[in-house]
Amino acid sequence: MSDRLDVRKTYKLFVGGAFPRSESGRSYEVLDATGAFLANAAQASRKDARDAVLAARKGFDAWSAATAYNRGQVIYRIAEVMEGRRAQFIADVIDAEGASTPVAEQQVDAAIDRWVWYAGWADKIAQVLGSANPVAGPYFNFSVPEPTGIVAAVAPRDSSLLGLVSVIAPIIVSGNSCIVMASQARPVPAITLAEVLATSDVPAGVVNILTGDSAEVMPWLASHADVNALDLTGVADAELAAALEAQAADTVKRVRLSAPDADWSGSPGLARIRAFVETKTVWHPLGV
């Protein structure tokens, strides 16, 4: 064993493709599964949330205008870059979740494979959720799914990597951008994922990751007029979830309801993609 002192990493937020500290200057202590000190994570504030919305709107404009093929390639690239960091993710998941090595390996492999699964969806969503509609008249009529916009999400508390990826991927695959509150107690795999996203050709602002207390930050996002949807998957407190749902009503946000005990091992299905797309229907007359 070398007696070299290791170089530790400062864990920061991921906003607009950059890694800022919290504007508030606050951090909080993150412990590993054994209760030992692991890191000081940035504690995101209202201002950080608002900055993230600005970044997410820019990200949305670029990402939603990209071709579905391009989005699929970029998402596949995330899987490629993650694979290269597989060992680091396994160590992160062991630290965060106290998982055994085989369990951590399984979680990381499933997370990488989940990106691959969603990468393939990018250019198929419109074919599965869209339609040509045989209206009773001389019109050409079709419906296509379009991304809802900016989704503010709360990642699962427990599944620090697979759950996180399972929340982010279906939001962005259709062209949405997102602001994700990482697991408050287990944020380190999320920051490592941010480093992957930053080097995978994902446009800046498409995924923004905040660490801290979702009970503090989410109300600002739930009431923000430029946020279009909420994904409350990781909200374990039923009262907080209900309060956020009620705030969402002020601007008629779409809401994916809380599911704190979701099982991430099975096939994800289409539900999460469907939750954050809008159906657009276009009519045009037929004639010569």
Binding site: A242, V252, R254, L257, G269, L270, T279, K280, V282
Partner: protein, 490 residues
């Protein structure tokens, strides 16, 4: 008005006979297959908005009535409807579609009497679409496994449905047909000012031998609706109406995990480029905002016209509006009928006055309005800016706000500069521009070189504060189905 230099022909009155309808003196609530007196409710009158004549007195459901209706719907769901094969449910819906076709004239006349809309529209637009909706969803009832929701999608249970007064029977059809096809039972509250066609629909359910409790109809005002959608025994809320009430409903269901569909207000841009087919565009603009007196959530209430043709379009519009026939809804020549209620007329007057006071220029079609009833002449505002209330707020009346633009990018920016996102129109002969615009407009329905077209196969619903969920087509069916995988979105 320009001096007529040509010979003009006067229209002779061509009234549709109202003998075809038979309105009772009073109506109870339709619960568990029969009309019953309210337990703790009251009664209110419904009037013909074109004459202010009282048509009849209907019941106002109270809390105990709402509970009774939900209990009846629950019983019907658990003992009959959810156990019935899809094939049998389909046949009930086909029966209903056929009876609607058989009684179409009666329904159209009753709709025009209670709502004020021209018979030409209730007869040629509303009723054919009502029958078509039941026909379309009837065919889905035994094909749910093909809906893209997995091999065994499930119905939700009891659906609480609240509908508006602008297309009373059509909105009933949009709500009831997919709900029943998917295997749900319903408690429906029609709008306070337009309850009569829903009550006649109850008679259609009777003629179809629909099992008691599958469809329950509670008349009432806002409080009845509030009681219904905030009840504990329901499994789905579907609402069409104002954005304010939609937000209140979304708030009230917070924490309940009840799935919700909201179809709310709009402030649609109707965008006319300098290469548009102008004759068609003028008709489309007129149809966009004056169809159904502008009582249309997807109305093209903001005309965005390219600057180079703005004067020409305005001249043509004024000439066309001067020919619109405003008056007796039952006259087959009438283009624009009565405003639905005194309250709505007051709202239109108030917003039009805001247009005046904020500096826009008003022009109204020179038409004689009847002495009695609620009327508002087709009206244009020019010199409108994006900050004006008449460019931002839903007027829900025959008032068009005209703005101009120079470039396609500016048109997109202005069109999307609204919290709403229900519909939009594009008029241009250039196909690539239509598709470019259609992909950038943040709205759920885009009409290109047409406007205000509807079809049961065509999904309808909004982006942003115009609501969520879709009615029509496969998405409209999915709104009343669940499987384990899909649960949990609102």
């Amino acid at each position: 008005m320009e001096a007529p230099s040509r010979m003009t022909f006067e229209y002779a009155p061509a009234p549709e006979s109202r003998a075809v309808v038979d309105i009772a003196a009073t109506y109870g609530l339709f619960i568990d297959g029969e009309f019953v007196e309210p337990i703790d409710g009251a009664a209110f009158k419904t009037i013909n908005p074109a004459t202010e004549e009282v048509l009849t007195e209907v019941s106002e459901a109270g809390a105990a009535d709402v509970a009774a209706a939900i209990a009846a719907a629950r019983r019907a769901y658990e003992t009959v409807w959810s156990r019935m094969s899809g094939r049998e449910r389909a046949k009930y819906l086909f029966r209903i579609a056929r009876i609607i076709q058989e009684r179409a004239r009666e329904l159209a006349v009753l709709e025009s009497l209670d709502n004020g809309k021209p018979i030409r529209e209730s007869r040629d637009v509303d009723l054919p679409l009502v029958a078509a909706h039941f026909f379309y969803y009837a065919g889905w009832a035994d094909k749910l496994e093909y809906a893209g929701l997995g091999p065994n999608p499930r119905s939700l249970g009891v659906a609480a449905q609240v509908i508006p007064w602008n297309f009373p029977l059509l909105m009933l059809a949009w709500k009831v047909a997919p709900a029943l096809a998917a295997g749900n039972t319903v408690v429906l509250k029609p709008a306070e000012t337009t309850p009569l066609t829903a009550l006649l629909f109850a008679d259609i359910c009777r003629q179809a031998d629909l099992p008691p409790g599958v469809v329950n109809i509670l008349t009432g005002a806002g409080e009845t609706g509030r009681l219904l959608v905030s009840s504990s025994g329901i499994n789905k809320v579907a609402f069409t109406g104002s954005t304010d009430v939609g937000k209140a409903i979304q708030r009230s269901v917070a924490g309940t995990r009840i799935p919700v569909t909201l179809e709310l207000g709009g402030k649609a841009a109707n965008i006319v480029f300098d290469d548009a087919p102008l004759d068609e565009a003028i008709e489309g603009i007129v149809n966009g905002i004056f169809f159904n007196q502008g009582h249309v959530c997807c109305a093209g209430s903001r005309l965005l016209v390219q600057e180079s043709i703005a004067d020409d379009v305005l001249d043509r519009l004024k000439r066309r509006l001067a020919t619109l026939r405003v008056g007796d809804p039952l006259d087959k020549n009438t283009d624009v009928g009565a405003i639905n209620s005194a309250a709505q007329l007051a709202r239109i007057i108030e917003l039009a006055e805001a247009g005046d006071s904020e500096g826009a220029q008003r022009w109204s079609a020179p038409c004689a309005l009847p002495d009695r009833g609620f009327w508002f002449a087709p009206t244009l505002f020019t010199g409108v800016t994006q900050a004006h209330r008449i460019a931002r707020e839903e007027i829900f009346g025959p008032v068009l706000s005209i703005l101009t633009f120079r470039t396609p990018d500016e048109a997109i920016d202005k069109a999307n500069n609204t919290p709403y996102g229900l519909s939009a129109g594009i008029w241009t002969e250039k196909g690539s521009r239509i598709l470019w615009m259609a992909s950038r407009l943040r709205a759920g329905v885009i009409w290109a070189n047409t406007f205000n077209r509807f079809d049961p196969t065509s999904p309808f619903g909004g982006y942003k504060e115009s609501g969520f969920g879709r009615e029509g087509g496969l998405p409209g069916l999915a709104a009343y189905l669940s499987n384990d995988e899909e649960a949990g979105s609102r």
